[in-house]
């Protein structure tokens, strides 16, 4: 749901052809049948009942097609549509990413974070699939970095460039294929202190546009000083190439700051003025943002408010609000959004819902085929 593919998605038959017998051989017969019947494939990190972590491939109707174990908790997935593979990132402050081929060509490949760096849970491939970019922490300096990995050379780390802010979280590739947008959440953490937030009084989030080829800063946008506790964390691109971002507020719980905004290079940030009752239901916390360019909508989820809202990308009007306990994962599908929850529910666009009794879903879900 992040780096929006510009060409049509790999169609089901191509995916299955690419997946080949190796991939299907790993599936239970029922799952293989479901895979053949499914129109779209989604990937999301999970935890299971035994406390094990992994990446699940799900059908559009919520059937589990495949499960790939991870050594620890995952977060988001980057999809390389050119070579038909994905990279799953450890949840911050994790130090691994796992690249897996959709066709099962070879074993999954683990990437270890560089010394003095950890991952923040998000990454993106270059359009040609040759490079992988990941948001990382320069731990000692508490400075955001984009780590660059050569996908043609065993994902060797070939460089890094600054994100011009602290705590970079999600990143996405703009429609020019060259500019990276990165949300600098602004919250200082250090592995020595777990996930504790060390700088709430002085945090300064930003959203930066970077040239992925030179590493240069193109533009850096900041919210007004009175909103310096509004951590910008998640994003997606609408049909017009505008970045929609979602925030998490670190100030007093009774404040009701705006939580959703838009920006693009050359344009100032704009914050969406939502109706107070809808805004209030989001509990100052957006867990994921997904655009459906075909439908002209953007969805945001709040696992803390147990709500998701669908917004008209043109007018900014909230079209629908849905109550769903601990909803977080969102992915565009058909004319709507597939949603997943921290309780294990999968809510497809087509109606109905599935719950896999052994799994709970992590914050993000991504269409990968």
């Amino acid at each position: 749901m992040r780096h929006r593919p510009r060409a049509p998605l790999v169609d089901r038959r191509a995916f299955l052809k690419a997946a080949g017998s190796v991939f299907l051989a790993g599936l239970a017969p029922g799952a293989a049948r479901a895979m053949l019947a499914t129109d779209a494939v989604f990937a999301t990190a999970y935890a299971d009942r035994q406390g094990r972590y992994g990446i699940a491939l799900l059908s559009e109707t919520g059937r589990l097609l495949h499960a790939l174990p991870l050594p620890d908790r995952g977060h988001d997935i980057a999809f390389d549509r050119t070579f038909g593979r994905s990279a799953a990132f450890a949840r911050r402050p994790g130090t691994f990413a796992l690249v897996f081929d959709h066709a099962g060509r070879g074993e999954p490949l683990a990437i270890a974070a560089a010394p003095g760096r950890h991952f923040f849970g998000h990454g993106v491939f270059s359009p040609d699939g040759r490079l992988l970019y990941a948001t990382e922490n320069d731990v000692d300096a508490a400075a955001g970095r984009i780590g660059v990995y050569d996908a043609t050379d065993g994902f060797a780390r070939i460089g890094e460039f600054p994100t011009h802010g602290m705590d970079p979280h999600e990143l996405l590739l703009m429609s020019d294929g060259r500019t990276i947008a990165v949300a600098n959440g602004g919250i200082e953490t250090h592995p020595d202190y777990g996930r504790a937030k060390l700088n709430l009084a002085t945090m300064k989030p930003s959203l930066a546009f970077l040239d992925r080829e030179t590493g240069a800063l193109v533009e850096r946008h900041e919210l007004s000083p009175d909103l310096h506790k509004l951590s910008i964390r998640h994003m997606d691109l609408d049909a017009r190439g505008r970045v929609w971002f979602g925030c998490q507020y670190e100030g007093p719980a009774l404040d009701r700051p705006p939580l959703v905004g838009t920006v693009r290079p050359g344009e100032a940030m704009a914050l969406l003025d939502m109706p107070p009752d809808i805004l209030s239901g989001l509990r100052n916390y957006i867990g994921s943002v997904a655009a459906n360019p075909a439908a002209g909508t953007v969805a945001v989820s709040s696992p803390q408010g147990n709500r998701m809202a669908v917004i008209d990308a043109t007018t900014g009007t909230v079209l629908a609000v849905r109550s769903l306990t601990e909803v977080c994962g969102l992915a565009a599908d058909r004319d709507g959004f597939l949603a997943t929850t921290g309780e294990g529910r999968i809510v497809p666009v087509s109606g109905g819902e599935a719950t896999l009794p052994d799994h709970v879903w992590d914050n993000h879900i991504l269409r990968i085929g």
Binding site: R49, H75, A253, S280, Y285, T325, V360
Partner: protein, 360 residues
């Protein structure tokens, strides 16, 4: 805030909680009200009282410096730190207004930026830092207990046995600032202002707590997040996995020898919250052992910490027995996270949320 209705018990480290209960856990509101009346409001009251006494003691020192008065100010500082450590795990509500939490205690100061700011104020004898209102708008690192500790215990503090000077005036301004914040917190909780009042009155129109389950989730969250803070930040901040990884100068308030005292205060607050909520009374008789087991573990940790007499932390860590005690307490906090975050929360039909964790 993020405990949720129990669907199944995933073996996740509980980090935060919320409720999506359609039915309220029995006695949820009574437990929260009990906690406010019998623990939180009185604890802020004690913090305000000790900070007033601290202000008086520092003023007395500045008026007439002497070894006795410096000792008196230091003792009053310890009392205030103790009172704060018994309520600092409450990290929501009035304490989140205007950075009060960080202004009372900015820590950890990992890159010593706060310390450098304090040292430069002292070196410059910056007059603007002596005005309480002006100080309140300066960096959070120069106006709270951490800065005051340096003023009273850091390099050069002993000069105040005979010469008050700028350093004492600065200490007095900090003490007055802490006193102002403490009194605002006491007032907010005793008058039920803002979140403090909303917590005790959940309901569909309540902007923070839609039902008793959410209110009770907040209470359990204080303990769950609190135990995580004690373990991940306070203990792991200076106690390495092995002795070679110890960092005594990263310990909270090591200059004044208050490190272990704050751990005791933090754990005492969890004990106090459990007792004030009278959780046992709201559980079926055959489930009350869960509360008792938490209290038992807390008592074990307190007993162990009471045996530590060596401070500063540097000496404590060099003493194998004391160091082992800290390791034991670290283990107990992990076990308590399970007892409170999973078992006790589960008894009330709540479980840790999986995807509602901060900042992901």
């Amino acid at each position: 805030m993020f405990l949720r209705r129990l669907l199944f018990v995933a073996c996740l480290v509980p980090v935060s909680c919320a409720s999506a209960m359609s039915a309220e856990p029995p006695g949820a509101t009574a437990m929260v009200q009990g906690v406010i009346e019998r623990y939180v409001a009185p604890a802020y009251g004690t913090f305000a009282l000790t900070s007033r006494e601290l202000g008086d003691a520092v003023d007395a020192l500045c008026a007439e410096p002497s070894p006795q008065r410096l000792a008196g100010a230091r003792a009053a500082f310890a009392e205030t730190v103790d009172a704060w450590s018994r309520v600092e795990l409450v990290r929501f509500g009035p304490v989140t207004d205007g950075n009060r939490l960080e202004r009372v205690l900015y820590w950890p100061d990992r890159r010593s930026t706060g310390l450098k700011q304090v040292q430069s104020l002292l070196a410059e004898e910056n007059a603007a830092a002596l005005d309480v209102a002006a100080l309140a708008s300066k960096s959070v690192a120069v106006q709270g207990l951490g800065a005051l500790e340096f003023a009273l215990f850091g390099t050069g503090a002993d000069d105040m046995t005979r010469l008050a000077g700028y350093r004492c005036a600065y200490a007095a301004a900090i003490a007055a600032n802490v006193e102002t914040i403490a009194e605002a917190l006491e007032t907010a909780w005793s008058a039920g202002e803002g979140a403090a009042g909303l917590w005790a009155a959940p309901g569909p129109d309540n902007p923070l707590y839609r039902d008793g389950g959410e209110a009770l989730g907040e209470l359990l969250d204080i303990m769950i997040h609190g135990l995580e803070l004690v373990r991940d930040v306070r203990i792991n901040g200076f106690l390495g996995a092995a002795a070679s990884g110890d960092r005594p100068r990263q310990a909270l308030l090591w200059r004044s020898g208050q490190t272990v005292a704050t751990l005791r205060g933090n754990l005492a607050s969890i004990e106090g919250l459990l007792e004030a909520a009278d959780m046992e009374a709201h559980l079926p008789e055959d489930r009350r052992w869960v509360v008792r087991s938490a209290l038992f573990e807390l008592a074990n940790a307190q007993r162990a910490l009471a045996g530590i007499e060596v401070e500063p932390v540097e000496d404590l860590l060099a003493d194998p027995e004391s160091r082992a005690t800290l390791e034991y307490v670290r283990l107990v906090t992990a076990s308590l996270s399970d007892v409170i975050g999973r078992q006790l929360s589960g008894e009330f039909g709540l479980t840790a949320g999986f995807s509602s964790l901060d900042g992901d």
